[in-house]
Point group: C2
Chain length 335, copies 2
């Protein structure tokens, strides 16, 4: 396999000139730059990291597990991770688990069989006891969803309880009385798992309701995470004896589905029904009325998770174990 | 490395029982199933495909190049590709080129260095002469964007000219006179490339305008592909001496950006300005007014492209070279 030295010899320049050209640095004579590029092409020279990969020392590949890449929250988080990874010449294997515990375990094998250098869990369906043994095979970072105990694995997320508490207080202050709640559940083929993230959000909701002396009704609890789920939730709400006057959802997609159906049925928002989303996805300000929602700092979350991963791969001083980013409520016209 | 035989011996069952457990088949005694799982765990047994990978015969990995994973069109096409790939135990490396010709070439190295079994181009920035040599290293499939000549490489796309022709005729029939046009340009760091896809759409537009004896004005030509671009386009339009009464865009994101700004400026849609999107993304029916757009069959495109790839990898009879899927206009309330 040709080396920098071979390229330098063929191009008739110094080795440092070759490395300046490779790294796109300034102050290289244009003729020399051309000669180096030509020599690299003729020799079939591979930059260092590729050559290293061929020698099998590392894959420069990181697996990222998400439950649904078509959810704008996940495509944005993957985009942010990819941006940080690319700066250090790492690539991502996209692991779209579709909420399946089996698929999640299938992708964890990538770490065990050394097909990736590290693995980031942006979704998490299995119990931590099932995941934990894989930490023996390489670095794992957790982002967004999280377990109760992470055995030294870095976690990057938001304070879910606080975010939902603030959203609930916002509705209570506005005078809404019959507040419905939608748990952000990913229905797997086996059963619906209430993750710690979903539990914590629900706790924030219950705490605010309790403090205000408000009652919760079982019939006002819904499950869902997609646009279609939102549409169905509205249809269920219409049939209730005591109709909710507001609903808290776990995703802007669910909220958008509810709004679309409610408007189609002639309901006025927020007069007949107030709606709170979660995420602050790009469409939150495009729909009408603009959606009150919790802003998830998705860029920062994705970047921070990947930075933790790169720190682990460089075997530097260990990154912080738990990172809770701010997730403010953005009050708009749907409440 | 342990084999099925080792697992069978340790679990005290037959080899066929082990393989039935591995493939989740019915009619296996629950005790035996547990014994097999336990034996697999204790021996560190890897299912066949992983073991094959470790022997280096294949990577079971396919690279997919997209320009922006946060564009719902691309996340949907990747999702569809992933679904087909997963059925055959293939994984995707997500290659987010951000419209950079350099990044595109960087990812093509994955094929050359045998780090992936095949590569699908859902975005394409470089000239075909630059890409073509990589077909020596493994199968390539083209999807969405395409070159004028593809030298035997399968292409899956829609008839771009026809789609834009029909959208233009729709506006003309509605009586719009001053029709603006936005080219779906990905601005790279170097320059704005007008791809064959963008050229063909523009041809469809020009043909319909010519047939109707309508004039095109240079000042009514815009560039852009994102929500933000759409917002900026509206601001430019406002300043024109002859304001357009309709605009054709190359993406629902651009259309949504224009609608958001137009409404904020007090314009009535479609009375003051008619808007046509492209793609039929999920938010097209959520915004107000609902967006007239061209439905890109993104599920079918993604699936067909991956099926072509799997056929090439199986070295079966060659898949069809050019596939043009139907992309009907969906007339809604924005026109």
């Amino acid at each position: 396999m040709p080396t920098i030295k071979d390229v330098a010899l063929r191009a008739g320049v110094s080795r440092s000139t070759v490395s300046r050209v490779m790294n796109n640095q300034p102050y290289v004579d244009e003729e020399k730059r051309k000669a180096v590029k030509q020599a690299m092409k003729e020799l079939g020279y591979l930059p260092n990291s590729s050559a290293q990969r061929l020698r099998g020392t590392e894959t420069r590949t990181i697996a990222v597990l998400v439950s649904r890449i078509v959810n704008p929250f996940f495509s944005a988080i993957v985009d942010a991770m990819d941006e940080v990874a690319a700066e250090q010449s790492y690539r991502l294997i996209l692991c779209n688990t579709r909420g399946s515990a089996n698929q999640e375990l299938h992708f964890l094998q990538l770490l065990r069989t050394k097909q990736v250098d590290g693995l980031i869990l942006a979704s998490l369906v299995n119990d931590w006891e099932t995941i934990a043994p894989y930490t023996d095979y390489g670095p794992i970072v957790i982002c967004n969803e999280y377990p109760r105990q992470s055995d030294g694995v870095p976690v990057v997320t938001i304070d879910q309880s606080k975010a939902m508490y603030e959203a609930t207080v916002h509705l209570l202050k506005k005078g809404y009385k019959q507040i419905a709640y939608c748990n952000p559940i990913t229905k797997t083929e086996s059963d619906a798992v209430i993750s710690p993230l979903a539990q914590d959000r629900y706790l924030g909701f219950c705490q605010a309701m309790e403090e205000a002396g408000m009652h919760m009704y079982g019939e006002c609890l819904f499950l869902g995470h997609s646009l279609e789920d939102g549409r169905n939730i509205f249809k269920q709400m219409v049939c209730l004896a005591n109709r909710p006057d507001a609903i808290l959802t776990g995703s802007d997609e669910v909220a958008a589905g509810i709004i679309a159906e409610a408007k189609a049925a002639g309901w006025k928002i927020p007069d007949d029904l107030a709606i709170v989303g979660f995420d602050n996805q790009p469409h939150a300000t495009l729909i009408e009325p603009e959606l009150t929602t919790i802003h998830q700092p998705v860029q920062e979350m994705g970047r921070a998770a990947m930075e933790r991963m790169l720190a682990l791969l460089r075997k530097e001083s260990p990154p912080p174990l738990a990172t809770y980013l701010e997730a403010p409520l953005l009050a708009r016209k749907s409440t």
